[in-house]
Symmetry: C2
Subunit: 194 residues, 2 copies
């Protein structure tokens, strides 16, 4: 392994890509997707705009990659929370809280994930990876349901859990409900896993 | 009462306001809020742009009025569905289905309602009426819960119902889940009202 390059120096191909994604996610914490430009991202990472275009031909390509990266981090946060709570009902609760918390902590990224998925063109492999990541998230939720339940009930239970945390997240992001974690926990406790 | 004026003729003050709202809601069924202009609305109703400005000084004022009108129609649709189903658990189910159906039938209006509420400035009486209408909707949901439940549980149960239908609606509008009414019904049936 060569020494880690500092900022404003040369990047190895893969290093620059992940540095750009890190910087993109960092910038998205403070501003909306519309306010983020490739030029600003280049400045942030200390490379030329031309260097960015080798990885992301346009802003849409960067946004799709950020959406995939965001979904992976969301999934990791949920799985980490579930494991820490020891699985089962407590794990479901922790995983749901992690979903809502992720949305509140990364509002622009959370909105980006869903708007990127909406624009998915099945012919576009990069955008399609957003859908795959979302499918993974759905399967994680279904895995929480009892294995012996009829498929239609498993599906309904998984959608119940997903729609509920998604609705809570959206209502919080739209300023409709306060960010009250005790209330969120009380709401999620009402969900039956059978 | 004077005779109803036809289009492209003179309107009484209140008639023009409601004709503008009707036309605005109609136009929003086919396009996004960004694609709707006061000029187009004037053309649709057959009046001059100046006539519109007497009711709505700018596009934001029109959008706030459309959001309030949209919320009232959403509330009516839910109450009608609840009554038709005879109240109780069946009424809750019908009311929840009506919420999701409204979002699917009026995607731009549904999104407008929540973005208008988000931009609410408490000093602006017109935008504040969006919040009041949303408060009314929340109270309608709370009224479904058993009156003898502890207040914290009532609040959690009402939020559970609201977040769930809101999440289902958003996931459908974002193309994440199919528009499958049987599945929606199965999901809503899982909610306990106690």
């Amino acid at each position: 392994m060569s020494a880690q390059p500092g900022p404003r120096q040369g990047y190895h191909h893969g290093d620059l890509r992940s540095a750009l994604l890190d910087a993109g996610l960092r910038l998205l914490r403070a501003r909306s997707v519309d306010d983020l430009s490739l030029r600003e991202l280049a400045r942030e990472v200390g490379v030329s705009a031309a260097a960015i275009y080798r990885h992301f031909p346009d802003k849409n390509a960067l946004m799709a990659a950020l959406a995939v990266e965001g979904l992976e981090r969301l999934g990791q946060a949920q799985r980490r929370a579930m494991r820490a709570a020891g699985g089962g009902k407590a794990g479901f609760l922790a995983s749901g809280m992690a979903y809502v918390r992720f949305a509140v902590d990364h509002p622009a990224l959370f909105r980006l994930v869903y708007s990127a998925a909406q624009q998915c063109d099945p012919l576009d492999a990069q955008l399609d990876s957003v859908s795959s990541a979302l499918r993974g998230l759905r399967q994680d939720i279904e895995a929480l349901m009892p294995a012996d339940a009829p498929p239609a009930e498993r599906k309904a239970a998984a959608l119940h859990a997903w729609a509920l945390v998604h609705g809570l997240a959206q209502l919080m992001l739209d300023g409709q409900i306060p960010i009250d974690w005790r209330l969120v926990e009380r709401v999620l406790s009402r969900v039956s896993l059978d």
